[in-house]
């Protein structure tokens, strides 16, 4: 499977994707508002010598899509250099098979960057490894600080309901606290790929 212009044009624009969402649109738009783009990053995307096409695989139920697609959406809006088309993962398995995470997992979002002649510049899957790493570390710290939460590897259903609710709240706060770092890492990695486009 290769992406060409006609296939690219079949994808949804960012706004069309949002319009067809049946869940999580409010969260996605809230995340979109909260993306804080550094001027130098916007400038780097604006300075791309040619527009870049971005094929996205996404679904509205996926937390990583709701967190990371708005970062791409804002970069596209503010730079005017990214032409984004979104394909629903479960209806476009031929594209998904080409970009499996570690060759086996259908992780999303997937962002594939192409030049105007549809030569691939690079692709990006799910979330930055640095974000997975820092959240795993913070998660361990939460469990270490709260012995009542038990083992981080144990099923949560064994916890009394009120303890489980507190754990859920601590984990949500941790994700919130690491969002700024996560967004910055997404921008850094996407910038690295997009700037491979030749003049």
């Amino acid at each position: 499977m290769t992406i060409d212009r006609s296939r690219f044009d079949q994808g949804l624009t960012y706004d069309a994707f949002k319009a067809q969402m049946t869940r999580n649109r409010e969260r996605l738009e809230e995340n979109e508002k909260r993306v804080d783009l550094a001027k130098e990053n916007v400038a780097a995307f604006r300075a791309l010598p040619r527009p870049v096409k971005v094929v996205v695989l996404a679904e509205d139920w996926c937390g990583d899509v709701i967190a990371n697609l708005p970062v791409l959406g804002r970069l596209a809006q503010e730079s005017g250099k990214l032409d984004v088309r979104i394909f629903l993962r479960d209806q476009n398995d031929d594209i998904m098979q080409r970009y499996l995470n570690k060759g086996q997992f259908k992780s999303i979002p997937v962002f594939v960057f192409f030049d105007e002649d549809f030569r691939e510049l690079g692709h990006w899957i799910e979330r930055p490894a640095s974000v997975t790493e820092i959240r795993a570390k913070r998660r361990k710290e939460i469990f270490a600080a709260h012995p009542e939460f038990g083992s981080p590897d144990a099923p949560v259903d064994a916890l009394p309901e009120e303890v489980r609710v507190r754990l859920q709240s601590e984990l949500a706060k941790m994700r919130e606290d690491t969002t700024k770092f996560a967004n910055a890492e997404v921008v850094r990695e996407l910038r690295e790929i997009a700037t491979r486009v030749a003049a």
Partner: protein, 83 residues
Amino acid sequence: MTPAHKVKITYCAECGYEPQTLALAKALMLEFGARLSCIELIPWDGGTFEVSVDGQLIHSMKTNGGFGDSAAIKDAVRTRLTA
């Protein structure tokens, strides 16, 4: 007196696992009826889909993969009920 047996299904609400959760809950209700004292559905996150009976984990997406075969989960529940 019949001992009370509890099933808990923990599912990732963020991932949209509600249909699989409800399908499994329904299958267990129809199969075991009042032999289960409670089927608890726990919305969670992180791609979780776990089923436990009386505190014993009988299926985990993380370790077993997928949502599990409904027949196999029913067998595991049945084994617990007759233990």
